[in-house]
Point group: C2
Chain length 107, copies 2
Amino acid sequence: MVADLVAEAELTPAVRALADPLRARIVELLATEQLCVCHLTEELAVAQPLVSHHLKVLREAGLVESDRWRYWTYYRLRPDALLTLADRLERLAASAPTDTCERRPCC
Amino acid sequence: MVADLVAEAELTPAVRALADPLRARIVELLATEQLCVCHLTEELAVAQPLVSHHLKVLREAGLVESDRWRYWTYYRLRPDALLTLADRLERLAASAPTDTCERRPCC
DNA sequence: GCAAGATATCGACCGTCATCGATATCCGGA
DNA sequence: TCCGGATATCGATGACGGTCGATATCTTGC
């Protein structure tokens, strides 16, 4: 129980990070190949500081990691973070009661 | 491509719905058993209109469905919605490139 | 129909966050 | 060490959304 609550607390930032449409698109793009900020800026057609900001949110949520190479900072997805999230959702779905008639008496 | 974008657009509301901590707790509670609003209000220790509001968001996101019975409205999880989401995340994780060296030339 | 309980809706307030412009920091080449 | 390019940070602004109180709607029993 407590462990579940802790696990959920650790997962929430990732879900919140994915909830923004622009960040969702970034994750989609990074699911194909690792990209640097300038690629993402061009692909998303938004200002570079905005891309950096959202990448920071994704990085702090553990969804992406970065890697400097010469001038550029390459970002790539961390698949394990997505898999952890997917597993959590599957567990929730699996634990849902199948018997729709069983109801706790009310108030 | 277009189908993927559409699918993503349909999934985003569910992710956004799960991003709120109170709604996440509601989903957790409903993963155990179906509950009416008064149960949730008591369990979460918040005002009843607030619970109704969040339930509406979850319902419109397709994550829960409701069922009236006498005085009360029972809510239950829709496991298929969570599974669809989990599948989407798994696909993204699976499509992530494993070769960390392969980089598109920059700018 | 009327009253009481359960739930949903509405309006207002307020904090958070996405966005933008300007600027700082970092890196590599000359 | 100086310069230019790439990225990160900062401050301000505006909008979205969570919360609360009041109230409307719906259901059931009398």
